[in-house]
């Protein structure tokens, strides 16, 4: 077992790369990148869950949010206005009823007084007026 261990240790021992190795690797990387650019092939991006938030995705989301907010605001305003109009309309209707009620009551009260004055011996003038 000893010779095998020695051989393995020898094979796996740390060795420094040749002096020009780093330069050759960088040159190769640069060469491949320039080849892709000249072919019009875009480098493949890695998929990232936040990728949609950049560029048009962000603009679209902001626009959709703004439109939604606008639509909701419009609906709320319209409902509020409708309720306000309903309240005002009901108030106006109540005023009409109250005015007609008072008018009717007073007309009948005056009519009753004319009748009572006539029956009690009061006199009624030609124009319908009466005096106790």
């Amino acid at each position: 077992m000893r010779p095998l261990e020695d051989e393995l240790r020898r094979a796996l021992r740390r060795r420094d790369p040749p002096a020009a190795f780093a330069g050759r690797v960088m040159a190769r990387v640069e060469q491949q990148a320039s080849t892709r650019r000249s072919d019009g092939v875009k480098p493949k991006r890695r998929w990232a869950p936040w990728a949609w938030w950049t560029g048009w995705g962000r603009v679209g989301l902001v626009a959709v949010t703004a439109l939604l907010a606008l639509a909701v605001s419009f609906a709320v305003w319209r409902e509020h206005r409708s309720q306000q109009q309903r309240r005002e309309g009901e108030a106006a209707r109540a005023q009409v009823m109250e005015a007609l009620r008072i008018t009717s009551v007073k007309l009948n009260r005056v009519r009753e007084r004319v009748r009572a004055a006539t029956e009690d011996g009061g006199h009624v003038r030609d124009d319908g007026s009466s005096q106790d």
């Binding site: 005015a99 007073k106 009519r111 007084r113 124009d127």
Partner: protein, 196 residues
């Protein structure tokens, strides 16, 4: 041919008289069935109960939209108001007599004097210190009325009603007891009978 001087002067006088009459007619204020009730606002502070209804034409039209012509009360009211252009009611009830002055009433009556308004009912009770008057402004065309005014002045109550537009008084009087409110006049009569 010689026209006599007297004849020329006669024609001239007629022309001047006609011109003056037409000018006076043109300048006379067009009587409006709407009364100025603004001076009564000050009574609100003294009154125990105040009813102040001011409904002009657009408000009446607006109220019409919220009235159901299939509902009994609303249908009756709609019949009355559909041609009206204004309803103004001021009613004040006081806790003691003497809270309004005769001048307050006179300011309204003065607007109702003249040829435009006709007083159709006038009940004055010196004993009870009451004054009831009903005025109508007839349409010159004779078709209908242009307005109605009611003044009911009692020691502790003053009510002024002014309705602008063609109004059927009989129809209006017949509303009492129909519009979901008790026949107050009937109650009033019963109340009076008990006191007697």
């Amino acid at each position: 041919m010689k026209v006599p001087f007297e004849k020329i002067m006669k024609v001239f006088r007629v022309i001047v008289a006609l011109g003056a009459a037409s000018l006076a007619w043109a300048q006379s204020p067009n009587p409006s069935p709407k009364l100025d009730l603004g001076h009564l606002a000050k009574l609100a502070d003294k009154a125990d109960e105040v009813v102040d209804v001011t409904l002009d034409g657009p408000t009446l039209k607006f109220a019409e939209k919220f009235m159901n012509d299939e509902d009994g009360e609303d249908a009756e009211a709609l019949q009355v108001i559909k041609k009206l252009t204004g309803i103004y009611v001021k009613s004040f009830e006081f806790d003691k007599p003497g809270q309004y002055s005769p001048e307050d009433v006179e300011a309204i009556r003065s607007q109702l004097r003249g040829t435009a308004w006709s007083k159709i009912v006038n009940v004055t009770s010196r004993h009870d210190h009451e004054l009831d008057e009903i005025y109508l402004m007839p349409d010159p065309a004779g078709k209908s009325n242009l307005g109605l005014a009611i003044i009911v002045a009692e020691p502790q109550e003053l009510t002024v009603v002014n309705i602008v537009g063609p109004i059927d008084v009989e129809h209006l009087a017949a509303l009492e007891g129909k519009m979901g409110v008790p026949d107050l006049d009937h109650k009033h009569r019963e109340h009076g009978a008990k006191h007697e």
